[in-house]
Amino acid sequence: MFHYRKTIAAATLTSALIATSCTAYGASPTAGKILLGSAISLTGKYATAGHHAKTGYDFAIAKINAAGGVKIGDKTYMFEVKYYDDESTPARGGQLAERLINQDGVQYMLGPYSSGLTRAIAPVTEKYKIPMVEAEGASRSLFNKGYKYLFAVLSTSEQYLASAVALAARVAKENGKAPADVKVALAFENDPFSLDVRAGVMDDIKKHGLTVVIDDKLPRNLTDMTPTMTKIKALKPDLLVVSGHSKGAGTATRQIAEMKLSIPMVAMTHCESADLVGKYGPTADGYLCATQWAETLTYKDPIFGSASEFNTEIKKTVPAYAKKSVPYQLAQAAAAVYVFKDAFERSGSLDKDKLRDALATTDLTTFYGKVKFSDAGNNIAKPMVLRQIQGGKYNVVAPVDFASHELEWPRK
């Protein structure tokens, strides 16, 4: 029921903003429409994250339309979007992409949620040469297939926790310890995303010369990490790196506290979506969390303002986020729509091939970060950010250029 409420809230918000935009800009008879399409997970196991993404899309479309829409030549266009629920299943996602393109006449696509769904839809958009800007598929396997029409605004998954390794090496040096003496424990779920994260971490471990003492793979249906934690009891590593979506983050946090382990540095993905602070309070203090975006970053753009303004406005307009932190999944979805607007205006046409070329040459600063695509379509201009939970707050500690707070080490 909660989700329905959220959806309704988002829909109300959108229609309200669209209504304002119409009155403000006089619903000029010359305003055309640009129809975007997206298959998104509204039910099934990705439903929560799917709703984040959809809220981001809706919010961005309403904002852009309210700010005058998309100007191509001397004509103004308003964004519209057609959604289908892919039920969190890749096969359904593929079918719906066909349907959007063939039956609904969608010429420009917004991405679905998760790498798996993006992997199912990308071949379809590629086949029909439909440009797709996606915001929620980070697996690097999406960007080695030679896709020409796929563009992603987020950082790829092997970058998620690599900076944690560099941070551990730096801390070791500051404390007069050789990096080779830094013992690392790895616990990664056996799924494409987490293994990507692991690959990035392993590269950096090799680069900085750290020693791996535990290298555990976790099952997909994981509920229990005690075997890994027991090894940590025995081997006392200096750094623990965990990636297993929100269930991995939650389970690890819970069991570290339950088994009274003291690990000087712990880094993981999905802290926010696992709601570590809300669920476990002070026991999660000192954890390092990888994030695509943080509201404290200093980027800004003319539509959404600064990252913190975006954050405040979401909290104000969407009641579901009033009391919890705005997830980065929402921010990057909004950024994807903005990238479309920018490319349309630069291409000066509605032609999808010209649009594709304009997308490829995107060089844009958004509230979410810089966007610039490699030939493979992934965003190479935006670094991942590492935040530490300090007194129940997420504070940016790495990379140094963006850090708002000092790293607290060792964690208590």
Binding site: F2, P219, M259
Partner: protein, 375 residues
């Protein structure tokens, strides 16, 4: 992989206390597995229904406990009151007694609903009384925990009255595939409903209780697991006593031995089936509340509890309660130690592998026995 195993064994030799830690924790969680498996053995043995939705029942119980925890219900619940509520529950059970003239005109479905409603009201009344009395015995254990368990039991009982009436009643004593397919369908509907109602996020009931550590922190025991273990044991004993002593328990056992003969003896097997199914649901509800305080859960995690209980029941055999408890505890220990030595990602594989071995041994024993009779 062999290298990994050797290193892991090396760690254990270096710190044998860790092995003790794993065994103790394995036993504690094994009690929860045993409880769930016992419920499964009950419906399987009595009704010949292989309930593939067993794990989902458990997760529903977990959500009930979690919801209550979030609503912040925290009147105290002590042992005397638990006793009082159990007494009320016993009163409710009486409605089901097939010799009770007062209730004998009602249809089975109505009785299930009536009974569940009765339990719910009784439970709420009991809690209100205690809340006003502010009675405190186990101050260290948050009260919500016990209340969570009780209400989970009642709620799940209520829902399953409905499921029983619409689905299960039609597949009792049918062949294997009918019941597997029907309960598989129930499992899917339940997963998606829970996903719609509660969302797909992982949830947990975190009581924030400090662990007890011993032997230089090499052995750590979570009080929640300890409480869960004790609850599981108490529940198991209560169920066994019920099956042995009460008339309904006798009727259930009679029906499971031979349903037709039981009918001839005047036992209303329809009622027995409905009751058995509801009893299993109540057991799952309680187990779910325990799951909620031990692990993180989400709507789709039920399957692994279904698998575990199927393995336990298959290994132990139907109608063999000591066997089910031993197998459940054994599985807890095996999961912990096996995953440590071979690797966490093989945790489920170890369990299923063990089942294969047990079945093979059983097969060998059975074939020997047959030969003896032949000659």
């Amino acid at each position: 992989m062999l290298d990994n195993i050797l290193t892991n064994i090396d760690i254990l030799i270096g710190a044998p206390a860790l092995a003790l830690d794993m065994v103790v924790n394995g036993l504690l969680i094994g009690a929860v597995f045993a409880l769930i498996a016992y419920g499964l053995a009950l419906v399987w043995g009595v009704m010949n229904v292989k309930n593939l939705a067993q794990g989902d029942f458990v997760i529903l119980g977990a959500y009930v406990a979690w919801s209550l925890f979030n609503w912040g219900i925290h009147p105290f619940f002590g042992i005397p009151v638990a006793f009082g509520v159990l007494w009320l529950l016993g009163g409710g059970l009486y409605l089901f007694d097939f010799e009770n003239k007062l209730a004998s005109n009602m249809s089975t479905g109505r009785r299930v609903l009536f009974f569940a409603g009765f339990c719910l009201i009784g439970g709420l009344l009991g809690m209100t009384i205690v809340d006003n009395g502010n009675y405190s015995v186990l101050a260290s254990v948050p009260d919500t925990f016990f209340i969570g368990i009780l209400i989970a039991v009642f709620f799940v009982f209520l829902v399953f009255g409905g499921i029983y009436g619409f689905v299960i009643r039609k597949v009792i004593e049918r062949d294997l595939f009918t019941s597997l397919l029907a309960t598989f369908g129930v499992a899917i509907v339940m997963q998606q409903s829970m996903n719609l109602i509660f969302g797909s996020d992982e949830q947990t009931v975190s009581l924030g209780m400090e662990s007890i550590s011993m032997l230089n922190n090499n052995v750590t025991i979570q009080p929640t697991r300890l409480v869960a273990f004790l609850c599981a044991i108490v529940l198991a004993i209560a169920v066994v006593m019920f099956m042995k002593r009460s008339r309904m328990g006798q009727a259930i056992r009679a029906t499971s031995q031979n349903a037709r003969a039981a009918r001839i003896m005047g036992i209303d097997t329809e009622k027995v089936y409905a009751f058995t199914f509801s009893l299993n649901a109540a057991i799952c509800g309680a187990a779910g509340a325990l799951v909620a305080v031990i692990w993180e859960f989400q709507p789709f995690i039920g399957l692994i509890f279904s698998i575990r209980s199927f393995v336990v029941v298959t290994a132990a055999g139907l109608g063999n309660l000591p066997g089910v408890i031993a197998a459940g505890l054994g599985m807890g220990v095996l999961e912990q130690t096996g995953a440590f030595v071979i690797g966490t990602q093989y945790q489920q594989a170890i369990v299923v592998g063990m089942l294969v071995i047990v079945l093979l041994i059983k097969l060998v024993i059975a074939s020997r026995k047959r030969q003896v009779i032949d000659t």
